[in-house]
């Protein structure tokens, strides 16, 4: 089991060049839970995730892990506690799945130390958890988008960190594989207590899998809390500029967002919601 880690951002201001992207944001990542960050394109989700994992130095404010500022911690030590799968990682030409997953062991290896059996166990476990065992000897650039995504997740798992950040881990995946990846991360959270923070674009999957949901709009925290508290018709309108209807997901009991566009709305559909409610 992992130890509980406290991670928080305090008055975080982030930017690139002279552009400020995130402004004085306060945030707490609950230990041992699954936190999902949602928000429209370019609102600063990836920027925030990069800063929480020390990849981007804040303009102001700080990120505190277990009472220590992450930007002052030794890089390798932090990398044994906190892992990140970026939004668009690159695989070197011709590298095999096994080699790529093996690179996740980097923070556990000393300068000239040899590969050891602990590394083999970690890699095998990561392959098995992501069901990529059969791909182990294939070249990564020959895989389908979905297979490649699972391989990258395997690399992050091989790092065996107590906190795991993932930037849009379900892009490129079909519906079944999206669920598989989210189930896998939930398993990891349940069995090892791994704290997971991820960015998802699918609000319904976010509400389904999050213990803690954070909505970001334009570089500011809009709301944070349980999915039921955060995924409301008002917040969807405020954050995404989208009209919607929220009903109870009959499968999970969590909120389910039905978007309302300009087309395919059947007459009197706003009553449909209430009719349906009455039946259940």
């Amino acid at each position: 089991m992992t130890t509980a880690h406290s991670l928080a951002a305090e008055a975080l201001t982030l930017g690139y060049g002279d552009r400020v992207v995130v402004e004085s944001l306060d945030l707490v990542v609950p230990a041992g839970e699954i936190t999902v960050i949602v928000g429209p394109n370019a609102c600063g989700k990836s920027t925030l995730l990069r800063s929480l994992s020390r990849l981007l130095t804040p303009r102001a404010g700080r990120v505190v892990l277990d009472g220590k500022e992450v930007h002052r911690m030794p890089a390798k030590q932090l990398a044994r506690t906190l892992g990140l799968l970026p939004q668009s990682p690159v695989a070197p030409e011709g590298i095999t799945v096994l080699d790529l997953v093996g690179r996740g062991r980097h923070p556990h290896q000393k300068l000239f130390s040899r590969w050891n059996s602990e590394d083999d166990v970690a890699v095998a476990a990561a392959l098995e958890a992501t069901r990529t065992t059969d791909l182990a000897d294939r070249a990564v650039d020959e895989l389908s988008g979905g297979q490649r995504q699972r391989v990258w997740i395997a690399m992050a798992l091989a790092q065996q960190t107590d906190l795991l950040f993932l930037d849009e881990p379900t892009t490129f995946l079909d519906a079944a594989h999206q669920i598989e990846v989210l189930d896998l991360l939930t398993d990891l959270n349940h069995s090892r207590g791994t704290t997971i923070v991820m960015v998802l674009h699918d609000l319904n999957l976010a509400a389904r899998y999050a213990d803690h949901l954070i909505a970001i709009a334009d570089g500011r925290l809009h709301t944070a809390g349980t999915p039921a508290e955060v995924l409301t018709e008002e917040s969807v309108r405020a954050v995404f500029g989208l009209d919607s209807r929220i009903i109870e997901d009959p499968v999970s009991g969590r909120p389910l967002m039905l978007p309302i566009g300009r087309h395919h709305i059947r007459p009197g559909s706003h009553e449909w919601h209430h009719v349906n409610d009455g039946q259940s």
Binding site: S88, P89, H106, A125, A129, A139, L157, Q159, L184, R192
Partner: protein, 348 residues
């Protein structure tokens, strides 16, 4: 997930890992044996053949009539410089190619070798400097060119394509400066000119070899200690940082060390054409993608220079400097790479 990993799977992973490691070890050992063999042949064979016994006695410092001069003064420094320069170019070349994730991003393509070469030519031909001063001139110039190419290519991060195109342009400017300097010099001969244009080992003396050898001994461990970090950086800067690599610090260390290797080797032997560019891809073919290519590429470079120099001296009716031979080998590969990247959609 760590609940229970199937032992059979762990063993399969370990086996596959060991198979790769032993293939790598085999390739490195074979390359090393070949390099030693080529080195020995270079010392023995030539206009006159000297048996291994004579060669060994010369190396041990004994006086052997004929051999002491031919082997000790002519062939030995030349062969040592072939190994030192070849290893330096191969190692520095693959370092750049790995770091910038592009086989075209080799120091002899993007102007760094040209920077060292132009500076060395100016120092020797125009300023009549020698020895360590030439090396210092070459390394400062190579670092300045590296910085210049990097700065010109920098716009919200360095994009590979822009860096390569700018580097090729700067290399062309520098090469024409070298030609100009050589054409203005009164007493230069063709041999000397060829050294700074394509690289040559003709007339190598020990005082030329020594600075390059010292640089190799000092800088190789620096690069090898960063081999793992470089492998992580192939996955992109963000992934590498997430794996605990200090990306900026590593990049600067590695650039300075690799540029140093290039500059010292170039000050001694000239920019031996395409060795830096070819060694990495050849090594990658031999050991496969995945593991670090630093040592294999260094060995390939040493072997290339030894073999090309020997061929240049004895395989044809006229004697060619080593750079002409490696140039003939490297040019088709450059064309192939450019054609291939064009097919792949135009971006490098």
């Amino acid at each position: 997930m760590s609940a229970a990993v199937r032992p059979a799977l762990v063993q399969a992973v370990a086996r596959s890992r060991r198979r790769r490691a032993s293939r790598r070890g085999l390739v490195i050992a074979t390359l090393a044996v070949l390099a030693v063999a080529a080195f020995a042949v270079t010392l023995m064979a030539g206009q006159t053949f000297y048996p291994p016994r004579d060669v060994v006695r010369v190396i041990l410092g004994e006086q052997v009539t004929g051999a002491s001069f031919t082997v000790g003064r002519l062939r030995l420094p030349r062969a040592v410089l072939a190994v030192v320069a070849g290893f330096s170019f191969g190692l520095a070349g693959v370092t750049f190619q790995t770091m910038l994730r592009n086989p075209l991003a080799s120091p002899d393509i993007i102007g760094i070798s040209s920077g060292a070469s132009t500076a060395a030519a100016i120092a020797i031909v125009s300023l009549s400097l020698g020895g360590a001063q030439v090396s210092i001139f070459a390394i400062v110039s190579a670092l300045v060119i590296a910085l210049l190419v990097y700065t010109l290519a920098f716009r919200d991060g360095v994009a590979g394509t822009r860096l390569i195109l700018i580097g090729i342009g700067i290399a062309a400017i520098l090469d024409s400066i070298t030609s100009y300097v050589l054409s203005r010099a009164a007493e230069w001969d063709l041999q000397e000119a060829m050294r700074w244009l394509t690289g040559s080992l003709n007339g190598t003396a020990w005082e030329q070899v020594l600075p390059a050898l010292v640089a190799l001994v000092v800088l190789t461990p620096v690069l090898l200690s960063r081999a793992r970090d470089l492998s992580a950086m192939q996955l992109g800067d963000d992934t590498a940082s997430a794996l605990g690599v200090r990306v900026e610090r590593t990049r600067i260390t590695v650039i300075v060390a690799a540029v140093g290797l290039i500059a010292f080797a170039t000050a001694a032997a000239g920019p031996i054409a395409f060795v830096a560019f070819l060694s990495g891809p050849i090594a990658a073919r031999l050991v496969g993608a995945g593991g670090s290519l630093l040592v294999p590429a260094g060995l390939v470079g040493a072997l290339l220079v030894l073999a090309a120099d020997f061929a240049g001296q004895f395989a044809f009716d006229t004697r060619f400097p080593v750079g002409v031979v490696t140039g003939v080998l490297g040019a088709p590969y450059l064309v192939y790479l450019i054609v291939r990247t064009h097919r792949a959609g135009g971006s490098l």
